[in-house]
């Protein structure tokens, strides 16, 4: 029943085929069609700007005070593109191959191929906008290699690639706002999706300044609201990144795919205090020149410089000689956890491993290291007070990216007609593990190229009855939102939203984090309903719902994380295999590597919400691999 509607024909031609099949909308009629875009990160801003340029009436929503703050801005390392400017053997086909393999064969080939094809256009687009990518002395674009691949296909702008790409999209968006094609609504939380007569026709928002609950209607709704790593409380995501819009869509009928596929990034600054509010990523580009090690002796408390070479275990180089420090994220994270769990960890609580630049400093000289990584060393010093030019950094894995998200077909439409999802918000192209520098690529491919083709096709090929905010579905959704908001604000209990969020985050990190077992997942599934009851009976808030109230905003997000957490555990329990970032202790090779089970689990899990308290229903989209030969991943 779950039909991805993949075009027929050879994989190279599928996207062209689909574009040719599409129904076009006459330029004179476009203005009459309205499109709501939720989120103004890479996918949202790029889609809003592009659809605005095409002449549609676009309304874009963001909870920030300006679209330039979206969390895409924090991406550091770079963006992949199969330009083969280096003449090092890269091609669209290789990027496609690497991404399917890196995702441990849990993504859809046709989508990934399109992503690899579009990667090339993204770089052209961004350069035309004035994104200041790194250059070589001859004026050509510079590239570097990045976690998990052996070609240099990653374009970058110092350690701030996400910022520069987002500002490019933001500026294009602002140009359209000035032109009047896009209406921007800032400081709005989207609290529900309105489905009228079987189609997504609008949203319910809370104006964060006045507290007013508002309705907006349109012909199409696009969600580009990012990922849900903040379910773990501590993650590299920005504080307000949340799952509310996609979770509300799920409750309205959109299937949620692969919720348990969450990426733990190997190179973050370790937790230092119980008051820590978020974790800071150190771009994994550092692994190009830094070497990861731990002391051979357990519980070794000597300063790193006092430990001789012979007493260091460069465990990635030892275990994976051909990829060494550049193994994919999931492999690097798990190896770090194993090193620490077996008593070799360093720093407070033994929750850290060294990332050492001593060799790079000797080989490249300090100047070159500063040029390449200077801002990362600065961030490290600011946070830890330590100088990484003198002693190795300490790093530890942290939740970073969620491959799961709303199930979408080839056109990025969810199972609710007229509701699309782009960027990290959809489950999409990364399978069970995302390769480095591929998130920016996917966000922009969806935003600049895919959605601006598929959304108009939906408009052109669908008979849309006129629907405005007077439709009863709006009143119903609005009153549900108002009711739950009022319930939260008037509880006057004892537990702050943060305290409950920390508790669920800790639980998820322990039981549904880097390694998972049936026993512990069941335990978590026993505890989560209690936490949910605690939330809905003992929540502490202050002030009213009719004003700028940041704790209330937080509470609404935590309420949805609590429900999503349950679905993540259910999904992790169902998938009794290890693949990519999902490691089930029951499914490993004799030497402790992840063991996939293609016979039983070569499918996308797409979960259907039934009703509160009832188990969700699993739908399976079978995955077939015609081009990339199914093989056990090996980076040895």
């Amino acid at each position: 029943m779950l039909d991805a509607r993949i075009p027929s024909g050879p994989i190279e031609d599928k996207w062209d085929t689909r574009r040719f099949e599409m129904k076009l909308v006459n330029p004179a009629n476009r203005r009459k069609h309205s499109i709501i875009i939720v989120g103004a990160g890479l996918a949202g801003a790029a889609a809003a700007a592009t659809l605005g340029q095409q002449g549609y009436h676009v309304q874009c929503f963001s909870f920030h005070d300006t679209p330039r703050r979206a969390h895409s801005i924090a991406a550091q390392g770079g963006i992949n593109a199969a330009k083969n400017y280096r003449n090092d053997g890269d091609s669209v086909y290789r990027l496609f191959y690497d991404t399917v393999k890196g995702g441990d064969f849990r993504s859809r080939e046709a989508n990934v191929f399109r992503l690899a094809q579009l990667s090339v256009n993204i770089i052209d687009q961004c350069v035309a906008q004035g994104v200041p990518f790194a250059r070589e002395y001859g004026g050509l674009l510079d590239t570097r290699s990045f976690g998990g691949v052996q070609v240099q296909r990653t374009f970058y702008a110092r350690g701030q690639t996400g910022q520069q790409l987002l500002l490019g999209a933001y500026q294009a968006l602002e140009e359209q706002i000035a032109a009047g094609t896009v209406q921007m609504h800032t400081r709005r939380d989207v609290l529900d999706i309105v489905v009228a007569d079987g189609r997504a026709r609008g949203i319910i928002t809370r104006n964060l300044i006045t507290g007013e609950i508002e309705s907006y209607a349109a012909d199409v709704v696009v969600l580009a609201t990012g990922g849900y790593s903040n379910v773990f409380f501590l993650s590299t995501n920005a504080m307000a990144s949340n799952c509310t819009a996609i979770w509300r869509a799920h409750r309205r009928g959109a299937l949620f795919a692969n919720p348990c596929f969450t990426q733990i990034h190997p190179t973050c600054i370790p937790v230092s205090s119980e008051h820590q509010s978020k974790l800071t990523l150190m771009s994994e580009s550092l692994r190009n020149d830094g070497r990861v090690w731990v002391p051979v002796k357990q519980g070794d408390t000597r300063a790193p410089n006092q430990i001789p070479e012979s007493e260091r275990d460069y465990y990635l180089e030892r275990r994976y000689p051909s990829f060494g420090n550049l193994v994919p994220r999931d492999v690097a994270s798990r190896a770090a956890k194993e090193a620490c769990d077996s008593g070799h960890g360093v720093g407070p609580g033994g929750q850290g491993v060294y990332l050492d630049f001593a060799d790079a400093l000797r080989r490249m000289g300090r100047g070159a290291v500063v040029e390449k990584y200077g801002n990362l060393f600065d961030i490290y010093e600011r946070i830890t007070g330590e100088d990484a030019y003198q002693a190795p950094m300490r790093i530890y894995p942290a939740p970073h990216y969620t491959m799961g998200g709303l199930w979408v077909d080839y056109d990025l439409m969810t199972t609710i007609p007229g509701l699309f999802a782009g960027g990290e918000a959809n489950y999409s192209d990364h399978g069970a593990n995302r390769l480095g520098a591929s998130a920016l690529m996917q966000g922009l491919a969806d935003g600049y190229f895919v959605l601006p083709a598929t959304v108009p096709n939906y408009i052109g090929s669908t008979k849309l009855e006129p629907v405005d905010t007077n439709h009863p579905a709006f009143a119903a959704a609005k009153s549900e939102v108002a009711e739950s908001t009022n319930r939260m604000i008037s509880m006057h209990g004892k537990r702050t939203p943060d305290s409950i969020h920390k508790q669920v985050g800790r639980l998820m990190w322990d039981e549904c984090g880097m390694s998972r077992s049936a026993e512990r997942l069941k335990k978590a599934l026993g505890t989560l309903p209690e936490l949910k009851r605690e939330f809905w009976s003992n929540l502490a808030l202050a002030g009213t719902a009719g004003e700028f109230n940041q704790s209330l905003e937080k509470a609404a997000r935590v309420a949805d994380f609590l429900e999503l957490a349950e679905l993540m555990c259910i999904d992790a329990l169902d998938r009794n295999e290890s693949c990519g970032a999902h490691f089930r202790v029951e499914s490993q090779t004799p030497d402790g590597e992840a063991l996939r089970d293609d016979e039983h689990f070569s499918y996308v899990s797409a979960w259907q919400w039934t009703e509160a308290g009832q188990p969700p229903v699993l739908h399976k989209e079978p995955l077939t691999f015609e081009h990339v030969h199914l093989a056990q991943r090996s980076y040895k």
Partner: protein, 265 residues
């Protein structure tokens, strides 16, 4: 360590605000300034009091959401550091800290330490972009950009739009913010076609938003968390002169529909 805080409390722009005093205890040097405020807010909330509102999100110094004055200094005084990245080891046990929102007529107050900086968006709308509709771009390597040019454009593009420069300036000038964008885009070959129009429009927009002029106090540069150099302001003034010299158009007639500016190299 323990600290005394004096924080500006104001429920919204239409009521009067005042300073309130608080004490926070058991703060550790590893905590960030905002984590210290989290502790205060958790405490307030558990006592049924309304927490202190402040904007923040990434907490890594890149989104530009955070920012307020600490003892009169925007972002608190550590060079090149946003307040979210400011570690408590920068302060001493027993310190008294006064926290106030950005004070500028063009940044109306939202609540407590949060202000509305949408005036910056409108400056960008007036010309802070290169028009490159999606789909029409040539191959990226057909546009050669010398490394020094790319690097300098990047230095300017690093601005996070936090507004500290405005808050620190006695004239509430947005020159540093605007000049950074003008510098980035006017320097790059891709930015040449709209160069003069961009300089004019953005400077006009800045004035229309009520930001003051620059009288060389250099306070903006001192507090800028991204170390945007004040030289860019001088450069913007030269860009303005250049645009006026070429100027067939008058300020008031600068509109988006004007015919494209001629290409000058």
């Amino acid at each position: 360590m323990n600290l005394k805080l004096k924080i500006w409390r104001q429920a919204n722009a239409s009521v009067r605000g005042k300073f309130e005093n608080y004490v926070v205890r058991d703060i550790t040097p590893d905590m960030s300034f905002l984590e210290m405020l989290d502790v205060l807010n958790e405490d307030l909330l558990s006592r049924g009091e309304i927490p202190v509102a402040f904007d923040h999100d990434c907490r890594e110094g890149i989104c530009g959401s955070c920012g307020f004055l600490i003892n009169g200094v925007a972002h608190g005084g550590q060079k090149g550091t946003t307040v979210c990245q400011l570690a408590m080891r920068f302060f001493k046990d027993g310190d008294s800290l006064t926290l106030e929102p950005w004070r500028a007529q063009s940044f109306p107050l939202v609540r407590d330490l949060a202000v509305n900086r949408s005036a910056f968006d409108r400056i960008i709308q007036s010309g802070g972009y290169i028009s490159a509709p999606t789909g029409g771009a040539p191959d990226a390597n057909t546009i050669l950009v010398p490394k020094e040019i790319a690097d300098s454009a990047f230095d300017a593009a690093a601005c996070i739009g936090c507004g500290a420069c405005v808050a620190a300036c006695p004239n509430s000038s947005a020159m540093l913010f605007t000049a950074a964008k003008v510098h980035q885009l006017n320097l790059l070959p891709q930015g040449q076609p709209q160069r003069d129009q961009r300089s004019l429009s953005m400077i006009v927009a800045m004035e229309e938003e009520g930001f003051g002029g620059c009288t060389n106090h250099r306070e903006c540069e001192a507090v800028c968390p991204k170390d945007i150099p004040i030289q860019f302001i001088g450069q913007m003034n030269r860009e303005l002169t250049r645009a006026l010299r070429h100027g067939e158009r008058k300020f008031a007639h600068v509109t988006r529909d004007a015919e494209p500016a001629e290409v000058k190299r």
